[in-house]
Amino acid sequence: MKEPGQIAEEFHEIVGAGNVLTEPADLIPYGFDGTAALRARPSVVVLPGSTAEVAACVRLAAENDIPVTTRGSGTGLSGGSVPPPGGLVLCLVRMNRVIEVDARNLTLRAECGAITAKVDEAAREHGLFYPPDPGSMKISTIGGNVAENSGGLRGLKYGVTRDYVMGMEVVLPDGKIARLGNGCVKDVAGYSMKDLFVGSEGSLGIITEVLLKVLPVPEARRTLLAAFPNLEDAAETVSAIIAAKIIPCTLEFLDQMTIRCVEDFAGIGLPTDCAALLLMETDGHPAAVADEAEKMAQIAGEHGAVEVTTAKDEEESLRLASARRSAFSALARVRPTTILEDVTVPRTHLAEMVSFIAELAEKHQLTVGTFGHMGDGNLHPTFLTDERDKEEMERVHLALDAIVEKTLELGGTITGEHGIGMAKKAWLRQQLGEASYDLMKLVKTALDPKGQLNPGKIFD
């Protein structure tokens, strides 16, 4: 077996010499993603410019038994694009075109490396929009979003990435190119193969092009901010809003630690003295929006909100949403290491889960900032710690284990939108159960028998 470095020459022939990186100073920056404490140095990074080049690279890697880790902008939060030591990174950022917006069929076709925000911008030029809006959308790639099935702030009403993937072009582990799905709203021709690849974390194939569903931009929208004296009141407000048959597009929650960090960064005048904030947004027909906004404000007031304010214009709404998206990174202001959780529970158990996390932090004497998508039950308790402090890290791991136990006990999932990657492997079997876990593994073995694509992710 040749070393990846040795076949760099052959990669040159496929993608051109400038697009093959082998020097240490070039490789080190491709050894990590957005996850804390996961690092490894690849031995070669290849940046292909087309699906054909990706396929040729995968074939070459397969012939030489080199594992391939696919990467976009490296913003993942479970180590999904972190290569094994000495592995090959296939970085797809050069393939970044939005190919076509089809306003009549409400579809958009883009190369895998197109930036999520640019995809949305392209749709907006036609009065349309792409609803999934993960926190990293300004730099994350659409291919990465599909491979991780990313969520975002609008999950409650609009769902997640999977709900917008109609088709894709994918390079299989043996280098064949397959087109899956199509532009039809209805399509029951055999298994829904595209769905197998959504959220497959680069372990089954390499997504090189996507066909997405886009929607008309809602006529109106209104953003409210409600401040609460405690976490439970905020969680109860969310349950009450949903019980009142309102489906807002956003119900985001931030605790005090998160509010302070975000305010420190964004300086947009968030109330830093309250225990919890709810960012609520409704969109749609102007009359419905006005009605829902009024009702949500009323419900918040009835459930202990000390203050409810309305964003005065579109610009302020955008500023609030954008500030919320910075929450995870902003929390890094407090301590050197931020360990971000992604547990999700059925909405009825939200208040219980939020209190549990607060008690747990107290018990293990840890600093936690919690924020998340309350509308869809997806919480991001974030441990603010220092990876160099071994003793504290042990307590962090005890707390993480306890959060997972509690989540599963409440019928939740260990990851709502970040993926298993390397970070969550240890708990997957426990959540799925034997039969389901084996079935998942069977799919992987069937498609990628030699374990060529993204080894060490999802499964051990």
Binding site: I28, P29, L47, T75, A117, I139, C261, D264, F265, A332
Partner: protein, 408 residues
């Protein structure tokens, strides 16, 4: 933290799509060097040379990473490790950092020489007979880029102390800068006029040391410290309500003397009192002029200097000042806070990348259809003027001063 939020704001990542040319990538290299995984070598030196130091990443970073400090420390480490040798590089660094920008009188003397060269006809003559081609390559590139020297420098235009006619509300010190003084001394004159018109007693020492920004950026910390000490001696901060800078690049450095001189008590007070002129004017509620600077309405746009917008977070204040002036129609400039490629000596050390950024900037300026570009940093001013000789470029304060003058 390596979330990658800085990537889309980094001009060198945008141009190359290579992680090592991004802030996150550069920081990972710094970390690898600190952890002995990578040698401190030419590759790293080249990478840090390729970085503009525009600090757009710092504005984008939710985690508050102080890239400016990492950047300057890295360049200082590179210099002290003596990686980048070479007689020519050594000569240029000696001439600029150790001589010209350490000796303000010498700098002005050279400036006068350059002015003579430019106005006496020698320049035209040499260019005409092609003698300029005999200059060394670096110098040849520099020659047409050299700023037109001011007819008179700041000390010939500004009295050491100037007082307002009415009530004296503030006592301020005025920093004249180096490039600003040589190339745009009239901007300094305009700044003093505006300050006096707003009730300031303005103290402008005729000979001022360089602020040391150019030294800190180029890895010469000791010289930067020396300049900071000289400024503190010349303008003791406890004697003034504010210390005014009108050049984005200087102001960004001037606010961090306490980091350079942690044991000097005056440095903290200095840092607290340094103000960009627009920032100061909005704080003291600048008096709106009653007259317009021009006889007809003029369309203007504003380009953010990186070190004013990202280094000092002064973004809204210059726009607020411009919007107070009657008879101007301010239009937005696309990517107004994207670096123009000037970036200190970057236009000389990395002409190719600098040229690409300049072209991009010029394109946006043309699209804006503004007749006047307003900007508040001599580096940007020179760079953009070189690409667009027909364009009228002014400092916002100059327009304000012109409007005040029209009141009389």
């Amino acid at each position: 933290m390596h979330c990658g939020m800085c990537l889309p704001t980094c001009p060198t990542y945008d141009a190359t799509l290579r992680e090592r040319h991004s802030p996150r990538g550069r920081i990972s290299l710094m970390r690898a060097i600190a952890e002995d995984e990578l040698p401190l070598d030419q590759a790293f030196a080249d990478e840090m040379d390729y970085c503009l130091g525009c600090l757009a990443c710092q504005s984008a970073c939710p985690a508050g990473v102080d890239y400016a400090e990492l950047f300057e420390t890295s360049r200082a480490e590179i210099e002290s490790a003596g990686i980048q040798k070479g007689v020519v590089r050594g000569f240029w660094r000696w001439l600029t950092l150790e001589q010209l920008f350490m000796k303000p009188r010498l700098l002005r003397f050279v400036g006068k020489g350059l002015r003579f060269y430019q106005v006496s006809g020698v320049e035209s003559l040499l260019r005409w007979i092609g003698l300029v081609k005999l200059l060394p390559k670096n110098f040849r590139r520099l020659e047409p880029q050299a700023p037109r020297m001011s007819v008179r420098f700041s000390n010939e235009l500004i009295e050491e102390v100037e007082s307002p006619v009415g009530e004296k509300k503030h006592r301020v010190a005025m920093l004249t800068g180096c490039v600003q003084d040589l190339a745009y001394a009239e901007i300094n004159r305009d700044t003093v006029d505006v300050l006096v018109a707003n009730g300031c007693e303005v103290h402008t020492p005729p000979v001022q040391p360089c602020c040391g920004s150019i030294h800190a950026h180029n890895g010469e910390e000791e010289m930067a410290r020396e300049n900071a000490r000289r400024l503190l001696d010349l303008l003791p901060p406890d004697s003034f309500d504010a210390i005014i800078s009108n050049a984005g690049g200087c102001g960004s450095h001037l606010r961090h003397f306490a980091k350079l001189l942690p044991n000097d008590e005056r440095a903290k007070e200095w840092d607290a009192k340094v103000r960009d002129v627009h920032e100061f004017l909005t704080e003291v509620k600048v008096r709106p002029p009653t007259e317009a600077p021009f006889e007809r309405e003029v369309k203007v746009t504003y380009h953010d200097s990186c070190h004013l917008a990202h280094g000092q977070k002064v973004v809204l204040q210059p726009r607020a000042v411009i919007d107070l002036i009657p008879g101007l129609m301010r239009v937005d400039l696309a990517e107004s806070d994207w670096c123009c490629g000037s970036a200190g000596v970057y236009s000389l050390t990395q002409p190719e990348q600098s040229g690409l950024l300049l072209e991009r900037k010029a394109g946006h300026i043309r699209t804006s259809q503004a007749e006047i570009l307003l900007t508040a940093n001599p580096g940007c001013h020179l760079q953009i003027q070189n690409a667009m000789p027909e364009l009228r470029i002014l400092h916002p304060v100059s327009l304000l001063a012109k409007a005040y003058r029209n009141e009389c």
